[in-house]
Every structure is written in C-alpha cells, then in structure tokens.
Subunit: 359 residues, 2 copies
C-alpha cells in the first residue's frame, strides 16, 4: 500500500500537528533558543548556521541587548525576541516549530512544559531535569500536547560513538563483559552548576550522565542494579551544596558490569573502555565537541582507529538536524523524554545509594 | 647511642632468629620454592638467578622428575628436594631461610603456617589466602614463630609504580579526587583458578586484587566503604563455581573515590588512572611483568612518560631481594601479612555486598 505525501499530510493535519504542516511545507524547522549561554551561543546556534533543516528563528533571554546582538547574527526579527515573562507568546509565532532549551537544569521542566502548552516541540539539554518528578511532568506535558520531546544527548548522534555502538552490537568484541568510564572537569566557584537548586546535583548530573548514558547506549541494555559513592574533598565553598566526586557501578541484565567516575575537582578527559571476549574498544575523548576518537583491538581484525573529523559545531548540526527530521517526518526521536527520564531515575538511585554513607 | 652490628646480632640471637644468623653471615637468603608452576619456574626462580641476595636452595613438588630437572638448573642438591608430605623436614635444612609459596590460593595458609612452624620466613603469593580466617591464621602463626611474612605484591616494589606513588604523595597531581582501574584476562576451562575451593573466588581474587591494592598504595589510604557487583555471562561451565566479572567502588576517608573492574571473560590490559586537581596519572600496562608504563599530564610540568626497562624476571629479582634485605636486616616488610589480610577483608566485603543482588 502506497500512501501519498499529501494523504500523509492530511492525516497529520487530522491530529494536532498543524504547526508541523508549516515546517513540512518549508522543509526546515524553526528553533526558538531558550537561554543564551555558552552552549547555545557557542555551539547550538552556530551549528544551525551550517544547516538547511534547522534554523534559529527566535530567542528567549533576560538580556535584551544580548538577544539583539545574537538576533543580528541569525537574522532573527525583533518580533521574535522574547523575555522569560512573555515566553508563552511563542504560541502565536508560526515561524517557531520547536524550542531548544539550554537553561540551568532546574528550569528545563518549566520551559519544556510551557513550550509544549504553546504547541511547540522541545529539544532540551541534558540532564533533562533536576528530579524524576519534573522529568515525568515534562514527558506528560509533551504527550498531552502531542508535541515531541527530545533530550539533547549529542553523543547518541555522533559518528564515532555510533560506530562504537555498531561494533559492539555486531558482536565484533565477542561477549562484552565489563566497561569503565570517567568524565569530569574542575568547576569554578560561583557557577550555577554548584547551586543545588539550579543544578539538582553535582558532577553526576552534568558529567557523570555522559558515562551513564554511554554505558546504556553501548550495551543497549538498562541497568538492573546501580549504586555509588559520593564525596566532597575540597571544603573551599564550592561543594557546600553538591557533591564533588561520584563513583558508581552498574550491573546490566546480561551480566555486563560497568564502573564509572565523575568529578568537579579534576580534569577528566572523558573516556569509555569496553572489554569483550574478542577485543577491547576505547573511546577517548569520548564525549567532547571535537576529535572524538575510537580505538579498537579486535581478534582477527586489523587495529581500528577512527577520529571524528567533524569538529564543533558540526556535532550540534547533526543533532539539530536529527530532531528536525523527526519533526518533518513525524517520527519519535531516539533520545525522547522517556530516554531522559530513565537516566534521571538511575541518577536518583545513585544519589539514594550514597545516602548509606555516614560521612 | 650507637649499637654495633655484633650487638644487634646478639640481640637477634636472643630471640629465635638463630636461622637468620646463618643468612646474615652468608649475606644471602636461601629460598625453598613451594610449588613448581608457571610463576615460580618462569619468573621467581629465574629472578633469583640474577641475584646475589636471593638464592633457590630447595624445592617442594609433587613431581620428583620435574623437581630434579629444575634442581639441576639451580644447583639444588638432591637432599633439598621435598614432597608435600615431607615438607616439614625443611626445618632441619639450614640452607633454607625462607619459603616462596606459589601454590593454588587455598594451599597458601597451610604451607605458610607449616613453614612458620618449621622456623622459616614466608614469602607468599597473592592472594594471601582464600578466606579472612586463613589469612589471620597465617599472620598469627608467623607472629608466634617470630618468622617474617611477606605477601608477594610485586607492584609495590616495581620502579614505575613506586614513581606513581611518589608523584601522588608529593602532591604533584594536586588533590586526588578519583581513580579507575581494571585488570583481567580470559581464563581457560580446567584451570584451578575456576575452582572455588582452590581459588577462593574468581577474577577478584586473582586480578581485581591488583586494582584494589593499587588504589590503596597509590592513595596510601584504607577504604572506608567498598562495594561491588558480580556476574556470570558465559554459562559454558567455566563459571559454575566462581564469578566471571566484578565491578567495585571504593570511598576512601579523604573522599577519594575509585571504581574498578575485573574479569575472566575478556583481555583487560591492566591500568590505573588517577585524577587530581592539577593533573592526571595513567599507568598502563600497570601490573604486567614487562613494560610497565606511566604517563602523567601535570599542570606546570612537562608531560612525563616512564617505562620500566627492567623486564621479566627483573621485577621478581627486585621483590625477592627486598624480602631478603628485610630478613638480613631484621626489618618488617612493607607488604607484610597484615597488608595481605587487609585486602582479604576488602575482598570479603565486596563478595558480601554482591550478595544483595538477586541474580
């Protein structure tokens, strides 16, 4: 049975995807950028400049002057600049198909839900929220509004990480037994990431989540058991509210075990090692914006070494275009709200398990 | 106050160190090798050939022909060849100052204790025993007999590992926050290491112990909390009695966290990564007999790369000579019975924590 594009569009129009119709007709997705910080101004928005499918069409910022300066670079009209107070007016802006939320973690839920209520799709930075309840509310709100929700797990769209998944899933490492990962950096005093209310937690929320997510996408399994230990070493004021270090272990249903570390007290060049009965795969850097590199030693194969030559902001272009394609083709994104919610639940389990420590 | 060597010797003679007197007079230690397997024949005994302080003077084996063949290589006289049954006769052999025990793990306790009762010092391979109780009994027996007990933690005497300890303890990495380690190999069906009674456990006993010990000697701290997950993936008969994989996490009193993996199901090139506020230190291979390599990236220092050029069996020479020096100078070895006992207790805690899993 062949269904014409017109018929499909009519079907789409029958459900509340009217806003998508516009996008489909113009073959690109217009993004409203919510939060003008490093990741949006330095990476996501430049990534859209290189894209035909993903365009910056509106900005939300508390600083009008900053917004106007950025607007000029992306040909955003004055009518498409919003403050947080008048954010809900995006509902009436037909240019906006989706929002890209790059706010402190604690604001993800509110603006995702408001965007959904405004009939806009949501691409939200990780971590999805600061609590499982908020993450669930985001999923519910987008489901109710029939808008799509994608969490910006960039690495799940990055070529070298995808190749690692493929090598493992094709069984070329044999039976995977164990893996290790670490990811962290030295956070500076005063950053919002050290504020529990804004960040929801310490390095586990911001950096450890990469290792956790990688263990899941590389194995394509969900943790059966997960636990960790947290600590604060530097009592210099930075870690009055959030942990400085976390180590955690995972046991997957197949029996694969993983051990991971994260920190805000040391520069950790993010990496993943996967040990299989027939070989070892090493990603390092595994999660960075540039130069992600895979090394594999596999029995019976020449040694593999692959580096992603597409440097920043190309990874953001790829991710944005993936979501744009999902919207244009009405497909559920791989890293949807449920995917983000799972990580939130595992993170909550790790934090809960840290409670057994008597510091 | 200056005490003459003669006076010291007289003091030593006052306590039951008569056997040591001989060693001191001849300025070398005579070792009785207990168990002619790969590690003794391939590594420890060749290591003694290169030493002036450590000599192979007696052998214990269940295979007389093998013993005679080895005896010829090391100029061991026929009168110094023992079976396990007549092992206790070593008491009367004045050439023997110490035994080197390289038996399956479950036999370490019995032969260490019998050696102590025979008035001989004990250098015992790791893991020290198959239970905390056995390890404690070994410590007690050697203490009662006033013989020294050293566990053969080779890496604690290896130059590049020692340099790593020094870099960390000098504070050159700044504040150490987190570390990861892995060590493992593919074990073959039929090996005694897969027999629970002989080995006491799976890869944690044989390979994970390197990571555990390294986390301790690199931090110079004792774990405050330690936990792990175990699993069996390959239901091919090899893992009917012992685990195939373990991941474990440690939290040290200072707050340093560590995460480690070990396996008998994959080749893991043993490594340790240490993340400090000022730099990262990487040992890989960290535990092998040859080519142990350290890489350090430290702020304000040129990148460090050191490889141990002293290949097998030189690491064994160093370790044997260290113990020989301890005996000649009547000093307690760094990796004494208590050191081994600590690892046994931590391993027991990890196994106990694995019990919370409902497989």
């Amino acid at each position: 049975m062949s269904i014409s594009r017109r018929a499909l569009l009519q079907t789409a129009a029958a459900v509340p995807f009217a806003k998508l119709m516009d996008a489909q007709e113009k073959d690109h997705i217009g993004y409203c950028i919510v939060g003008l910080g490093r990741i949006s101004m330095g990476h996501f928005m430049p990534g859209c400049l290189d894209s035909k499918k993903s365009r910056v069409v509106a900005l939300v910022s508390g600083h009008r002057d900053k917004a106007e300066k950025e607007a000029a670079k992306y040909s955003v009209t004055a009518g498409s600049l919003y403050s947080y107070e008048d954010f809900d007016k995006i509902a009436g802006n037909k240019e906006i198909d989706a929002v890209y939320i790059a706010l402190p973690n604690s604001m993800h839920a509110e603006y995702s839900i408001r965007a959904a209520k405004a009939g806009k799709h949501v691409l939200c930075e990780k971590p999805m929220a600061t609590s499982v309840a908020d993450a669930q509310a985001m999923v519910n709100a987008c489901r109710a509004a029939k808008t799509k929700l994608m969490i910006a797990y960039r690495c799940q769209y990055e070529a070298v990480n995808l190749e690692a998944i493929q090598i493992i899933q094709e069984g070329r490492l044999g039976t995977v037994q164990a893996m290790e990962s670490a990811n962290g950096f030295v956070e500076r005093a005063g950053e919002w990431r050290l504020n529990k209310k804004l960040a929801g937690g310490g390095p586990l929320m911001d950096m450890g989540i990469y290792s956790l997510n990688a263990c899941r996408y590389l194995t394509q399994e969900e943790p059966r058991y997960i636990e960790g230990f947290c600590s604060v070493i530097d009592h210099d004021g930075r870690f009055d509210e959030v942990e400085e270090n976390v180590s955690f272990v995972i046991r997957f249903p197949s029996g694969i075990v993983a051990s991971c570390s994260t920190t805000y007290g040391a520069q950790m060049d993010g990496y993943v090692r996967v040990h299989g009965s027939k070989g070892t795969l090493h990603l390092q850097p595994a999660f960075s914006y540039e130069g992600i590199k895979l090394t594999a030693h596999i029995q019976g194969e020449p040694d593999t070494e692959k580096t992603n030559k597409l440097n920043d902001p190309a990874q953001f272009t790829t991710m944005a275009d993936y979501f744009s394609d999902c919207l244009i083709n009405n497909q559920e994104p791989k890293t949807n709200g449920e995917e983000g919610l799972r990580d939130m639940k595992y993170i909550a389990e790790i934090y809960k398990s840290c409670g057994r420590q008597t510091f």
